[in-house]
Amino acid sequence: MDLLEYQGKQFFAQYGIPVSDGEATDNVDDAVAIAERVGYPVVVKAQVHTGGRGKAGGVKLAENADEARMHASNILGLDIKGHVVKTIWVEIASDIAEEYYASFTLDRSAKQHLGMLSAEGGVEIETVAEENPDAIAKIHVDPTVGLTEDQCRAWVEAANLNPDATDGAVDILMKLYNAYVEGDADLVEINPLILKPTGEVHALDAKVSLDGNATYEHPDYTKYDATQPRDEREEAAHAKGLQYVGLDGSVGVIANGAGLAMSTVDVVNQVGGKPANFLDIGGGANADVMSGAMEVINNDPAVKAIFINIFGGITRGEEVANGIIEAMNRVTIDAPIVIRLDGTNANEGRAILEPHLSDSLMMETTMLDAARKAVELADSQANG
């Protein structure tokens, strides 16, 4: 779960990390009221799940109420790389002496937490990593030990920040590590982490990604659900509890298991088609799950053919076949369907499907043949 900047700042604040005084809103009048409360100058910032907000005109400085009103009304509704701004964050502007970068994430190779700190903040860290890798001080933290203050101080010293920033940086980084672990985050990033002319260290931005698997420990994380970047199709699939990712092609894909679903999307591409989605219905393939999946695919107007790719393991071919037929009775499908059923009792399953086959329900035995058929159908539907 990716948080918007304002949610990230509120998350940081809960763990004692200093952030600028501000509030989020979805309307211009409130934006002006917030600006009046926190005091000018203020920064009005678009809240969207994409980078490059500044260049797109989504971050503006306001010296007074008129400017705050103008910027708020211009930014709300702005389209930034396909993301329409619904929420803005208004905060008191900060004086900046220096800009740094700080983050914690999991290093999957080392299987430990990785902290990164750089005196070169305010720019893309990937650029720094490429052009000047020595400018990033790295630290590995054993999760069973945690980050000690001595370790943290040595790390800050290795990053060559302004000596005035050392104590403040150590304090923030200890809190940031705590937020990362206690909050079950996949990523916490502050860019820029600033040193003010007055000597305080402060988080001017917040990028936080939380582990969706840990929501049972954090029931309040359901509040982030509404602001996840999903298109209409993904929203509908999410509501049905399906693992769905929208793509931009014309072949709807339903498969069981994440690996097989990924592979199905790949194979559709390999034979010259374009998949409309990734959809994993999990290990079983009963009528409830199958009809939910079919409904989601059917509601996507771009879908011209559907490829159902099921491998029966514990779930037998007969159960899968009956599930598909039952689902087709429940949902009226517009696009032709190509089924590939393999694995446990595949022949028995195919025998059940046999009498139902028609121009709108076809069957192939291999993944490649089924993909070719589905792509051919999608192309002819699109042209006809």
């Binding site: 299987k111 592979s263 393991g313």
Partner: protein, 294 residues
């Protein structure tokens, strides 16, 4: 021979009294796995179809001589279950459960590495392990695998593993052991652990490796293969067309910051002399060619 488990492996099921644990535990037993015990602190002294239930893993080990455990406990309890098994002295822990928080996984991975170096963890979020004809721990349908070798399989994906087992069986090719390492960010057992074990196993003559997008485990495996493997390897990597920034079902399957792409993984593997298929069927065909020439 097989790796990690064989016909002598005695297994205690943590969570045997739950619906999933009971269903798969009994299926595993029916397959021939030595399912010797289950645990549930509230149901000690009872049994599941004749399999005795103990309060703790330590009690079960003492009474039955179990050396392996299989975890079907819901995600919030997995960290405690893994640590309990390791502390009791279990040598091989298979955690099937999906949805375990990454911070829990990182914690118990390091705890085992630091304090219980003789305990191997497989998973979480994996289908388990099968040495066909000998032992099946987890959720793989036993009958889709042909026993006897000469192929070893290691995979990050469940259904693609089944697909591979089934295609090899259709071609009349047997498997020594098939290890599903799971699709999570911190798998207890890595590709390299399995490749090293297959390299050392005299009955395994070739290895099939099924990867997917995300992380750098396939690239690391490629380096290992280049430096250490004498046996031929075929591979398939799922997710060639996955869009960056979107998780494809598995918590670990994500292309982020341009890293972890299938293309880079396939190139690294091909560089290491691995025969890489463009789809699972092609990887199976490449393996059939290798086996025919053994």
């Amino acid at each position: 021979m097989s790796i990690f488990v064989d016909e002598n492996t005695k297994v205690v099921y943590q969570g045997l009294t739950g619906s999933q644990g009971r269903y798969y535990g009994l299926l595993n037993k029916e397959y021939g796995t030595q399912v010797v015990a289950g645990t549930n602190p509230k149901k000690a002294g009872t049994d599941v179809e004749g399999i005795p239930i103990f309060a703790t893993v330590a009690d079960a080990m003492e009474a039955t001589g179990a050396t392996a455990s299989c975890i079907f406990i819901p995600a919030p309890g997995v960290k405690g279950a893994v640590l309990e098994a390791a502390e009791a002295g279990i040598e091989f822990i298979v955690a099937i459960t999906e949805g375990v928080p990454a911070h829990d996984e990182a914690y118990f991975f390091n705890k085992l590495r630091n304090d219980f170096p003789n305990t191997r963890l497989l998973g979480p979020n994996c289908p388990g392990i099968i040495s066909p004809g000998k032992c099946n721990i987890g959720i793989t349908a036993g009958h889709i695998a042909k026993a006897g070798g000469p192929v070893g399989i290691v995979s990050r994906s469940g259904t693609l593993t089944y697909q591979a087992l089934y295609e090899l069986k259709e071609k009349g090719i047997g498997v020594t052991t098939c290890v599903g390492i799971g699709g999570d960010p911190v798998p207890g057992t890595s590709f390299i652990d399995c490749l090293a074990a297959f390299e050392a196993d005299p009955e395994t003559k070739a290895v099939m490796m099924i990867g997917e997008i995300g992380g750098s485990a396939e690239e690391e495996a490629a380096e290992f293969i280049k430096a250490n493997m004498s046996k031929p390897v075929t591979s398939y990597v799922a997710g060639v067309t996955a869009p960056p920034g979107k998780k494809m079902g598995h918590a670990g399957a994500i292309v982020s910051g341009g890293k972890g792409t299938a293309q880079a993984k396939m190139e690294a593997l091909a560089d290491a002399g691995v025969k890489v298929g463009q789809n699972p069927t092609e990887a199976g065909e490449l393996m059939a060619e290798i086996v025919a020439n053994l």
